[in-house]
Symmetry: C2
Subunit: 264 residues, 2 copies
Amino acid sequence: MCLNYNPVSVFVDPDLADAEKIAKEAISQHKMLLIAGNCWVHYVGRARSKLDPGERILIVKEDGSLLVHRSTGYEPVNWQPPGCIFQTCLKNGVLELKAIRRKPRESVSVFFDRVYMISSLSLKDPGEFALYASEEDMQKAILFEPSLLEEGFKPISYEKRVEPGFVDVYGLDKNGKFVVVEIKRRTAGKEAVLQLAKYLEFIKGRVSRETRGILAAPSIAKDVQRLLETLNLEFKPLDPKKCAEVLNRFETIKLEAFFKQGSQ
Amino acid sequence: MCLNYNPVSVFVDPDLADAEKIAKEAISQHKMLLIAGNCWVHYVGRARSKLDPGERILIVKEDGSLLVHRSTGYEPVNWQPPGCIFQTCLKNGVLELKAIRRKPRESVSVFFDRVYMISSLSLKDPGEFALYASEEDMQKAILFEPSLLEEGFKPISYEKRVEPGFVDVYGLDKNGKFVVVEIKRRTAGKEAVLQLAKYLEFIKGRVSRETRGILAAPSIAKDVQRLLETLNLEFKPLDPKKCAEVLNRFETIKLEAFFKQGSQ
DNA sequence: AATTAAATTTCGCCT
DNA sequence: AGGCGAAGTTTAATT
C-alpha cells in the first residue's frame, strides 16, 4: 500500500487515520502534499462557496497554498493563496483539512470520506522561468530583426569569443562602426556595464575602425546610466515582449516555408 | 513499482518508456494524468516562455487541459486550457509531452528526463459547485435578513411541510398577508412557478387571510414572467452574492458573540 | 503599505 | 461565434 522513492512517498488506499498522519507530517515538514479522494468543500471569506461531494485532487504546496482540482477545467474549483495555516481533524469517518488565511480572513475546508491516494513530495526546483524571452531569445531576436537594436544595424556574429568572455552580438552600424552589444534580460546593473566595457576594450585593441558599445536591456538604473555615459557607452531599451513577438513571427514564417516546401 | 486501486493507478520510478505508455493510455482514455518528475518547459503562442529544469507536478485533465505546478505559488507556471491535442515523444532519454491548441495557435511542451511518479485517475465528480450561496444558503439569508425579500416581511417558518412538498420560507408581509416564498438559485423556470402555485393553492385552502406567492431567484425568463403574472404570483430578484454578504455578516456577528461569551 | 495596471488573464453572459 | 464586463480575479510595478 506504500511506495517510497527518492523525493516521493505514495500511499494507496490508506485509512483516514493514516492519511491524516501523512498529511500532518507533509505540511509540518513543508513538503508538497497530494491527495486523490472523495471530498466536499466549504469556503468562507471574501466570498463563499459550497462544493458537493465528488472525486477530486487536492494539492497543498510547500508555501502553504492549497488547490482543489476537479476532473475538468483549467482553474481550481477552490483554492487558497500561499501562507495559509492548516488544521486537520478526523471525526465520524471524515477527514477535514482546513486552510486558514488572515488578511483577508478566509478559510477553505476540504472534507474527505475516502482517500484513494496520498503522496508527499520534496521537489527541488531551482529552474528559472523566463516569460516572453530568455537572454538567449533576446539575442536571437536581434539577429532576426536587427532594427530592434537600431536602424541600419548589421550583425556579423554572435557569442563571439573574446579574451574576457563572449560577446552577445557583434556587428556594424549604418556608418560602418563596429558595435558590441551586451544583452540583459532584466534591469541592467553595474556588472553589465563593466562587462561591456571590458569587451569593448578588447575589441578596440584589435580593430582599426571606430567602435561603439551598446547595452540592451528592458531598463537601466539612473546611477548605472551615469557610469555608462562616463565610459562612453550607450543604452538601448529592449523589451522581452517585443523580442517574443519577433521570434513568434519568424518561427511562423519558418513554419510556413516548411509547409510550402512540404506541399510541393 | 505499481499500485492499482479502484479509480487510481500509481507507478513509482517508472522508466521513461513505461511512463510514455501510461501517459498515452491515460490521455487516449480521457483519464486524469499526474506526473511528478524533473522537467523543463517551452511555451509558444500568444506569448512565449521557457522554464529551466526542475522537479514539478504535471497534470493533464480529462478535458485536455494541462497544468505545470512548481513547489510554490498558487498559479501554474505553465498551462494550457481545455481542448488540447496531445503528442508524446521519447527521444535521447527525454520524454516530451506536447499540448497543442488552435485558436489561438499555441503549444506547451514539457520535457522529462526523470519521472518519480506517474498516476492515472478516473475521477467521478457529479457534485454541484455553488459560488456565493446554495439554495439553502439563500433561504438562511432571508431568515437572517427578511428585508432581502421585502421591507416589513416577517418569517414564521421554513421548510414547512405542505401536502405537495416543502415551502422554502413562509411568513407575513407588512400588511399581515400570508406570504409563501419559493427560492431558486438560478434563473427561475416554469417548474418553479408551477411549484409555487401548487403550494399557494394548498395554503389558500387552510388559511382565512389573504395570501401572496413570491418567487425569489437571481432572474426570470420573460415568458416565465408572463405565466407568473397570469397566476397572480410575484417575482423578487434575489442575488446569491447579496445573500452571501448577509450570511458572512451574521456568521461574523455570531462568532463575535461567541468570543465575547467565551472571554467572560 | 497602498494604488494602479497588466495578465498566455479566465469565465460567463449577451447578442 | 464574437464582444463586453466581472473575478474569491492574481500579480507585478510604482508611489
